[in-house]
C-alpha cells in the first residue's frame, strides 16, 4: 500500500463573494513527482498556501505525512519544505546569511548548517553571490535561494509554487536535476505550473485544477490517455477564445 505524503481534504476559500477554492481534495503518494496544473486564477497558489499553513482555509485541512497542518503546524512544518515567495524571505540578508538563519530558526546544529549551505550554494551556482544581499538578486536567483532554504533541513515533502517561473534554461535544468535526484532518493515533490512541457518531462502524477476544483487527477499516462497534455489542459480549463475579426485595429 502506498502511503500518502501529502493530503488535501476539502479545502475551501472564499474572498468576499468570490469562491477561489471550492473544495479541493488531493492525495499525493509518497515518492511521487506531482504536477498541479491550472490556468491563471484557477486557485493553485491559494490551494497550496492553505495546504502549507500560510492561509487559513474556510473549511478543510491538509496533512503532511499524517500531521495536520492546522492542528499541529510545528510537526508538519518540520517535514515540509516550501519555496517561499520573495516577501517571505529576509531579503536584507546575504544568501549565506539567509540560509544560516533559516537553519538556526529551524534549530539545526551550526556545523550541519554551514556544510549544507555551502553545498547548496555551490550546486545552485550561487557561490559567487553568497555575500550579496538577497534583495539585489535577480528573479531567477531568488527562486534558487528560496529553493535552497526549502531544501536545507532535508524535508520529506517539497511544495513548490511555480518553481520554474523566471528561471533561465541553465538554472531550470539544474533545478530539474536536483528535484529528480530528491525524488529518486525517496522524497516527494508537488509543484504548480502552467508549462506543459516541464510537467510532461518531470511528473509521475498530474492534477488539473480549474475554477477552484480538481478536474482530473491521476498518473501522467492516465490523465493524458494517449493525447497531448496541452489538449487535455485546454479542454479542462474551458477552451480558448477563438480570435476572429477582433483587434483589427492592431496593425
Amino acid at each position: 500500500m502506498i502511503e500518502n505524503a501529502f493530503e488535501l481534504r476539502g479545502l475551501v476559500k472564499k474572498f468576499g463573494d468570490k469562491t477561489a477554492v471550492a473544495g479541493v481534495d488531493l492525495a499525493v503518494p509518497a515518492g511521487s513527482f506531482f504536477g498541479l496544473l491550472g490556468p491563471n486564477g484557477a486557485g493553485k497558489t491559494t490551494s497550496l498556501s492553505m495546504a502549507v499553513g500560510l492561509l487559513r482555509p474556510d473549511a478543510g485541512t491538509a496533512y503532511v505525512l499524517g500531521h495536520d497542518v492546522w492542528q499541529d503546524p510545528t510537526a508538519a512544518k518540520k517535514l515540509l519544505g516550501v519555496l517561499p515567495d520573495a516577501v517571505r524571505m529576509f531579503d536584507r540578508l546575504t544568501g549565506l546569511e539567509l540560509l544560516t538563519y533559516t537553519g538556526l530558526l529551524r534549530g539545526m546544529p551550526n556545523d550541519e548548517i554551514s556544510a549544507r549551505a555551502t553545498e547548496l550554494l555551490a550546486v545552485l551556482g550561487l557561490s559567487d553571490a553568497r555575500g550579496t544581499l538577497v534583495v539585489d538578486y535577480s528573479a531567477g536567483m531568488k527562486k534558487k535561494i528560496g529553493l535552497a532554504c526549502a531544501l536545507l533541513h532535508a524535508p520529506k515533502l517539497l511544495v513548490l509554487d511555480e518553481p520554474f517561473e523566471a528561471v533561465d534554461p541553465v538554472s531550470a535544468a539544474t533545478i530539474r536535476d536536483i528535484l529528480n535526484k530528491y525524488v529518486r532518493s525517496g522524497g516527494t515533490v508537488i509543484f504548480s505550473s502552467h508549462v506543459m512541457e516541464v510537467v510532461e518531462r518531470l511528473c509521475s502524477h498530474v492534477a488539473i485544477l480549474a475554477d477552484g476544483v480538481i478536474k482530473v487527477v491521476g498518473t501522467l499516462d492516465e490523465v493524458r490517455g494517449g493525447r497531448p497534455l496541452e489538449e487535455i489542459f485546454v479542454e479542462q480549463a474551458g477552451g480558448r477564445t477563438a480570435l476572429g475579426e477582433e483587434l483589427a485595429w492592431l496593425a
Binding site: K13, F15, G16, D17, K18, A20, T45, T46, S49, V52, G53, L54, L55, R56, P73, T74, A75, A76, K77, K78, L80, V82, P84, A86, V87, R88, M89, F90, R92, L93, T94, E97, Y101, T102, L104, L105, R106, G107, L133, V135, D136, A139
Partner: protein, 524 residues
Amino acid sequence: MIRVFLGLKLRILRNGFKGKTGRVVAFVFSAIMGLLLAAAGFAMFAATSQLSHGVGKGVVAMLGTFIVIGWIVMPVAMFGVDETVDPARFALLPIPKRSLLSGLLAAAFLGVPAIATFLATAGLILAGALVDGVVGALTAAIGVVLGTLLCVVGSRAVTSGFAAALRSRRSRDLALIGVTLLFTMIGPMISLGSNSMAAGNVEAVREALRAAGWSPLAAPYTAFYDFADGRPLLGVLKLAGSLVVLVLMLVWWDRSIESAMIGAVGGVQAGKQDNGKVLAVLGRTPKTVYGAIVAADMRGWWRDPRRRATLLSMVAASAAMPIALGVGPAKSPIAFGATWVGVFLALSAGNQFGFGGASYSQHIFAGVPGRTELRGRAAGLALIAVPALTVIVPALGALTGQYGNIAGALGTAYASFGVAAGMMSILSVYAAYALPESSNPFAMNSGGGCMKGLVNIAAMLATLVLAAPMALLAWWAGSSAWSVVVIPVSVAYGVGAVLIGTLIGGDALNRRAPELLAAVTPSR
C-alpha cells in the same frame, strides 16, 4: 532561540548600513539624540527623589504617562513601526508560537527608542534607592522593567492591531474611530494639565495625576512610592495591575501576529469589488489627463490601505491638535489651531509618489507633464481634505465656544492646506522614498525613520511660517465682519501657493522623473 532573533535583527540592520552613508549618519544622529534624551530623562527621574513624596509621585505619574502614551500613539500617528523582523517571514518555519513571540519581543527591544526609554526610566531605580533604600530600588526596578515592556508591547500590539484592522475594509471604520479616540483623549488631557497648571489650579492637577498614577500608563512607575509611604499592598496592586495589562497586550499582539503571518497571502488575492458608491463622483471628473489623475489619486486615498492609514491618522492628528490647544481655561485663538488642521491633512501627501511605487512608470510611459501630475494629485487630495476641513474647523469652533471666529479660522485652514499642499508637491518630488513591501500599512524601512521625520518636520515648519500671514489676518479680523473677507483672501492665497508649488515641483518632476521612479521603486 531568542539569541537567533537578536542576531537576525542586528545582521539585517548592519546589512542595511552597507554602503549607505546617509543611513549611517541618520542612525548615529538618532543614537546620539536618544542617548542625550536618555541621560536627561535619567537625571529628571532620579531628581524626583529630591521632591516631597506627594509632588515626586505626581511628577513621575505625569512623565510616565507621557512616555507610555507617546509609545502607543506616535507609531500610529507619524513614524510607523520598524518591521525589520517581519512576522510574515516566519510563517513557513516550525517555530512554536511561544518562541516566536518571545523572539519577536526581544528583537523589538533592539532599537534606539526602547533602549533610551529603559535608560531614562532607570533613573527611577536611583530615585527609589534614595527614597526607600533597597526596597525602593527593587520595587522601582520592577516597575521600570514592566513599564518598558508595556511601552514596547503596547506599541507593537496597537500598530499590528490597527494594521490587521485596516487590512480588512470592513473594520476600517472601527480603526478610524479607534485612532481618533486615542488622539482626542490625549489632546484634552495634555491641555487640561498644562492649562490648569498655568492657572495655578493645583488641586485639579493633583487629582488628575492621582488618577494617572493609578492607570496602567503610570502605575508601574509610581508603585515604589507606595511602598515607601508604607502602603505595600497598594504598591503590589499597581505592579500586578500593570502585569495584567501587559499580558492582555501580549495576547492582543499575539493574535495580530497570526493575522499578519497568514493574512498576507489573502490580502493580495482578496480581489473584492468596490461598489464604487462613494466614488461615484469620480465618473464626473473631466475626461482629460488631469481629470484621470484626480480620479486615480482619490481612488488611491480610498483604496490603498497604506494611503488610507496615512490619511486617517493625519485627520485624527489634525483634529486632536487644536482640541489640545483650544480646550481649557487658557484658550488659544482657534485660527492657530485651524492652521494645524490644514497642514496635517496635506502632510499625508509628503511622499505621495512612494505609495504607488513602481507604478509611477506608467505615467512616465504616458508622458504626463509634471505640473499636470502634481496639480491633479493636489486636486485629488483637496477634494477629500477641503470637505473634511469644512466639517472639522467649525466643529472645533463650536466645541471651544469661539463661534465668531469660525469664518476666519476656516479661511486659515484652507490657506494652510494650500500652502502645505504646494510644499508637499515640491517635497514629494525631491524627498521621495520607497515604502517596504509589507502587508502592514504602518511598516517602514529600518533606519529611515529619523531622516523621514526630520525632513517632514522641516517642511512642516516652513509651511507654518508661509501660512502664518493668513492666520494673523484671521486673528486680526477676530469675530468682526472683516472675518468673512478672510475666507476669499485665504482661498486665493492657498490656491496661489498650490500653483506656485506645483510649478516648481512640476518642472523638477519633468527633469527628475527617472530619479523619482528609482527612489520610489522598492528594491526587489
